[in-house]
């Protein structure tokens, strides 16, 4: 891996137009397949965007579990001599979910109920996946540059106040361990 590749792999940036384009594809997928919700999640478990569905579930937790589930299955596929299982399907009594790999960086998760069928979802999700893979490829291969003016100069410095407020102002215990190293207090 060369150095620019290494840097590129250290973070991924989505701009408004990326999310807008992804959103259009997901909306079209929901319209055609009559599924309830479509989420695009990166392989590290971060939600990229979501269309449809309700607010009843915790997006962050579901995204992390989708990624974990997919990664575990991918390892299983390797042990069975496959590169990966590109589509996973979990069926519930009321709702079901289909997961499909998008390129090599994301997962498309589609939830649906008895208003449609697994076949319909699979058909339209397959088409959407191909389009999303192109967008993801563009995002991950995009050279840095224009992003620098939009990331705060010293995020760590800015974060300190907020982190103090959130983590520092709370009572953690009755007293600190006696021999806590000096760095702990810095």
């Amino acid at each position: 891996m060369n150095e620019s590749e290494k840097l590129r792999r250290s973070r991924v940036l989505f701009y408004e137009q990326d999310i807008g384009h992804i959103g259009e594809i997901l909306e079209e997928l929901l319209r055609l397949s009559k599924a309830k919700c479509a989420m695009l999640v990166d392989l590290d478990g971060h939600l990229i965007t979501k269309v449809g569905g309700t607010t009843t579930f915790d997006d962050q937790t579901v995204s992390a579990l989708v990624a974990g589930s997919f990664e575990a299955t991918r390892e299983m596929a390797k042990l069975l001599g496959e590169d990966e299982f590109s589509v996973l399907f979990h069926q519930g009594k009321r709702d079901s979910i289909q997961l499909a790999i998008v390129g090599d960086r994301a997962i498309l998760a589609v939830t649906f109920d008895d208003q449609t069928t697994a076949g319909m979802v699979r058909l339209y999700a397959g088409e959407a996946t191909a389009q999303l893979a192109d967008i993801m490829k563009g995002v991950t291969e995009r050279k840095g540059g224009s992003d620098t003016d939009r990331i705060p100069d010293s995020l760590g410095e800015s974060a300190r106040g907020r982190l103090d407020e959130l983590f520092g102002g709370k009572k953690e215990g009755k007293q600190k361990p006696e021999d806590t190293s000096s760095s702990a207090k810095a």
Binding site: E3, S4, L7, R9, S10, R11, V12, L13, F14, E16, D18, I19, D42, L43, D44, G45, H46, L47, I48, T49, D58, Q60, T61, A64, L65, G68, E71, A72, E75, G144, D147, T148, I151, P152, D153, S154, L155, G156, E157, S158, A159, R162, L163, D164, L166, F167, G168, K170, E172, G173, Q175, K176, P177, E178, T180, S181, S182, S183, A184, A186
Partner: protein, 289 residues
């Protein structure tokens, strides 16, 4: 991997709690979950065995709030500590933006701590990531127990890269938020450093960029029990002054085998003896002729 989503005005990071089995990784997350207010935390999810040992991971999403105009979200994970769960441990480590290494302070757990640290480096290497490029905070846990190693000993054996470190008692909730705060700070600082100085970021280690110049240049080999002095003096989180000389980054692997470092002088002596012996034989042959 940090995800910055300008459309959602979100910055998402992944922090992984690593360490040997039963060192207190899950206890850390449980305490964080217990202490933080509802609006800052998501659902605590644990994929564990019937005996409460982590099977895949524990997950705690946190909403830190607005920082620099971005809504910062942290996903805290723990890995299963048992040696035989390495496949799942490696999966959880994928895309980690920061690591909290939870070490067990009990004397008989030191080997497990060292093995886990080595395993962390190996698993990161499989993703093409060097340990020196990852923000790490070292937590010496179980400081509430009676028979524990001094921090200085643990520093000397485990913290050769001079990561920020702190003692804790996760079950009592002592030191858990300090650890998380430090790691979050390092991760967020690394994001802006990488964005603002891509050329530097590509060629130096994250702890160098965060002020750990001296630490990154030190060899990692644990050959002999180091004195406690440098270990106490070294951990000083926060940026090192710019005047400090920039040393080349250390890319050395953590090496637990202490014997290999002494081999080269012995080999040199053997070679010299063989050469001398051959010389003597040749001389004797020539003289007899």
């Amino acid at each position: 991997m940090v995800q910055i989503n300008f459309a959602r005005r979100e910055l998402s990071c992944k922090i992984v709690y690593y360490g040997p089995g039963m060192s207190g990784k899950t206890s850390n997350l449980e305490k964080v979950h217990e202490i933080l207010p509802d609006e800052a935390k998501g659902r605590f999810t644990s994929i564990a065995t019937d005996g409460d040992r982590t099977l895949f991971f524990d997950l705690l999403p946190l909403d830190v709030g607005k920082i620099g105009g971005l809504d910062v979200k942290l996903q805290l994970y723990t890995v299963p500590g048992q040696v035989y769960y390495n496949a799942t441990r490696k999966l959880v480590l994928r895309g980690a933006d920061g690591v909290v290494f939870v070490a067990d302070s009990q004397p008989d757990k030191m080997d497990e701590n060292l093995e886990s640290l080595k395993n962390l480096e190996e698993n990161l290497a499989e993703y093409g990531v060097d340990l020196v490029d990852v923000p790490v905070v070292m937590q010496y846990n179980k400081r509430d127990l009676p028979d524990i190693l001094p921090i200085s000993d643990m520093e000397a054996k485990l913290n050769r890269l001079k990561w920020p470190s702190m003692g804790s008692s996760a079950v009592r909730g002592e030191g858990v938020l300090d650890t998380l705060k430090k790691c979050s700070e390092l991760v967020l600082q690394a994001v802006s450093v990488r964005a603002k100085a891509p050329a530097e970021a590509a060629t130096t280690t994250v702890h160098e960029r965060l002020g750990k110049l001296e630490a990154a240049a030190r060899p990692l080999r644990v050959d002999k029990p180091p004195s406690a002095e440098p270990a106490r003096a070294a951990p000083s989180p926060g940026p090192t002054p710019a005047a400090e000389p920039a040393l080349p980054p250390s890319r050395e692997r953590i090496q637990l085998d202490s014997s290999s470092g002494r081999r080269s002088p012995i080999i040199a002596v053997i070679i010299a003896a063989v050469v001398a012996l051959i010389g003597i034989v040749i001389a004797v042959v020539l003289l007899t002729k």
